[in-house]
Amino acid sequence: MSEMLLEVDRLTMRFGGLTAIDDLSVAVPKGKITSIIGPNGAGKTTFFNCLTGFYKPTEGSVRMHHPVHGPLLLNEMPSYHVARKAGVVRTFQNIRLFPNMSVLENLIVAQHNALQTASRFSLAGLFGRAGFKQAREAALEKAEMWLTRLKLIELADTAAGNLSYGTQRRIEIARALCVDPLLLCLDEPAAGLNPRESAELNELLLYLSREHGKGVLLIEHDMNVVMRVSDHICVLNFGTKIAEGTPEQVQNDPNVIKAYLGEEDADDKEAA
């Protein structure tokens, strides 16, 4: 078993009377791809929001094993600390780019904390000191590297908001990578992609986990992506974990088949 990066322990999230996540425990290892699947409204995005500090979970804990800072409790951190200190960076289901800024600028913004420190909170930057110039060169190089890797380099100077849906998804992933995450949380990265783009995404996810040793946590509906790349799958329904295991194990699990096929009515109700 490889080294655990993130351990979610008995997480529960309630909104008033509605229990969106109920007593959920998941572990995410380093260098592997873990997927969360489940019907609409199963609580997947809520789970992400709890991980990344946008929601404060009602109960339970989210523990990140950081190589430098040691164990960190994400559920007690403000959302920006989750990315900055714990190295957990997410993307959004409904893409959130900075639409009026260029693709390159989107990736530079992601490196804000490093640059801001290098600019000595603008003082050194204001007078153009060498240290800051170096940091900026480094930031541009990193951005260029990911832009090249994700085949976005031609678009670097165009406004992000003007680009196609699939491209915007890739930009969002590139932007998240510029934060140097230990754990990358992707919320439906394959939604709206054509088959070719989707295949490229698979390749990218494998590359990130195998070559860069990043932990990847994936929420996805596209089974072509999930079944091909996942090392471990966790199936949610109505906020509870109904199955867990390798793609083969999950595909043959009677509970999963029932959740996806057997109880259509319940799904519809939930989705509404």
Partner: protein, 305 residues
Amino acid sequence: MMGQFIQQLINGLTLGSVYGLIALGYTMVYGIIGMINFAHGDIYMISAIIAVTVLTLLGSLGIMAVPVALLITLVVAIVFTSVYGWSVERIAYRPLRNASRLAPLISAIGMSIFLQNMVQLTQGARVKPINALLPGGFELFTSNGFTVHLAYTQIMIIAVTAVLLVVFTYLITKTSFGRQQRACEQDRTMTALLGINVDRTISMTFVIGAALAAVAGVMVTVYYGVVDFSIGFVAGIKAFTAAVLGGIGSLPGAMLGGLIIGMIESFWSAYLSPEYKDVATFVLLILVLMFRPSGLLGRPEVEKV
């Protein structure tokens, strides 16, 4: 002490009713298009000016019977002020429906400046005094040499506000317009897909807001007896404060906020310092927003991510 307290309670209730009526207009418009109608205070001012004109006209025609004069003034003011409310939306808001959030705000500020100066030009800059339409009142009781007064105008304001609230609540909760209005607040695109004329609903919202402000304007004219072109700004800010205090988008909240602001103002003036009554209002606003940003009756918002 008791007498003083009761007196301020009555004054605060009166003032608060007026703020509440104006605040309803803010909160409705905010609810439906998510924007501050900056010209709303001036709509109220226009109604007050119209009321002065109508009352003067009625006086010169010899129509002095209070209920008749009041009713005519109210109806005329509501009709004409509503046209102003409608025009504000058509000119300053509708063309900017899809623009950035700031654009309609600027055009509305421009509208506010325009309306104020238009009235100053056409009606003159002088303060306009009118004869008391409804003088006198009850002397409720005297304690420690302090006589508590309840003016007829105060009864009128509180009564008219109460009646209006009943009608208004019925309009919003029971009629088809009310349903369309609430639907637009929830989701404008979906409402349009259901075949509801969203533009007309928004127009109607401005008209109803203006009509409520018109009633407030008429009553202030009758209550204070003096009006000028600049009364819209401060009343507008206070009413907006009231709307936020009550929880913007919430109709009972707007009324409650109005009453609270009215009370604070009259108590602060009486017991502390009249000069700083507005400061008290704004400080309260800042405190509320810090500690309870959704207002007193507003629904707390969960950040959508």
